[in-house]
């Protein structure tokens, strides 16, 4: 065994040991953080779908109603302005 190989073994072995011991510590911490579901128990749904479905449909309805209301208000305003201008144009011609 050459001097370089001996040196590599001296450095590598402690490094590998350090990594494995760190993984062991992390694994123990993981055991504390994640608790497995006891056998025979079923998991309840965490995120109910009803509020999401309700929000989606409500948003579409409200957006359409608001847009239609704004559109008709704008149209009314523009048509009123046009009628005023037409009468002014007629008056200026006469």
């Amino acid at each position: 065994m050459t001097r370089l190989q001996r040196w590599i073994i001296r450095v590598t072995l402690p490094a590998v040991a350090l990594v494995f011991s760190a993984l062991g510590v992390l694994a123990q911490q993981g055991d504390k953080g994640f608790v497995p579901l006891p056998p025979g128990q079923s998991l309840q749904e965490q995120l109910p779908a009803t509020p999401l479905v309700f929000t989606a449909y409500a948003f579409v309805w409200v957006a359409l109603l608001v847009y239609v209301f704004i559109l008709f208000s704008r149209l009314k305003k523009v048509e009123r302005e046009l009628a005023d201008l037409r009468s002014k144009t007629r008056a200026s011609r006469a």
Binding site: A49, L52, A56, F59, A63, L64, L71, L82, L85
Partner: protein
Amino acid sequence: MTSHSRLVPLLLGVAVVMFAAAPFVIDTAPYESSMGLVQRIFYFHLGAAMTMLTSGLVCGIASARYLAKRSASADHLAYAAVELAVLFGTMVLVTGPLWARKAWGVWWDWEPRLTSTLVMYMLFVAYLLLRRFGGAGSEVLSAAIGLFGMALVPFVYISVNLWRTLHPKTSVLPTLPKPMLVPALFCLAAFLILYWALLLIRMRMEAARAEIDAAYLSLED
């Protein structure tokens, strides 16, 4: 204009009746086996998305016509179509994440369908901003943006087939079982009829605005 004034109330009436009946029609659809209740967002999401894509196509064709012939009515149509594309695009971008939150576990994912839809939506918003604040001559530049928006429409549609993605593919609609297909087509028809009515109203408003501009010019002369 007279035929429009008769057609618009009819279309609006049909759309209102269909939207009022939509919850009852959707209620007849069975639950999807893996997603359950949240899949029901699909029926309005699909209608809004197809209407947005239709509006993008209408805008692009009208913009091309405006660029070629400088037709004022084509410009009015493009402007109206873009505003509606933004309206229905907003619905798509709100209902989609609400569905994704439950189905995928996230509100948003940077996958091809969602990203390309967002880019197209932003192009249409840019069109509206340009028309609102761009001043004289912004019609030509915004028509070019409208063309880019239309170019994205087929890309948005087939993106789910070209790349591996979380989003359902285009084959979903033709392969739907009849109890799910009927509500989907019903909602799609409701959205498209409403779109047609709103487009005619919006065009009428643009025509009136153009007439106002012309009247001011004649008064100044």
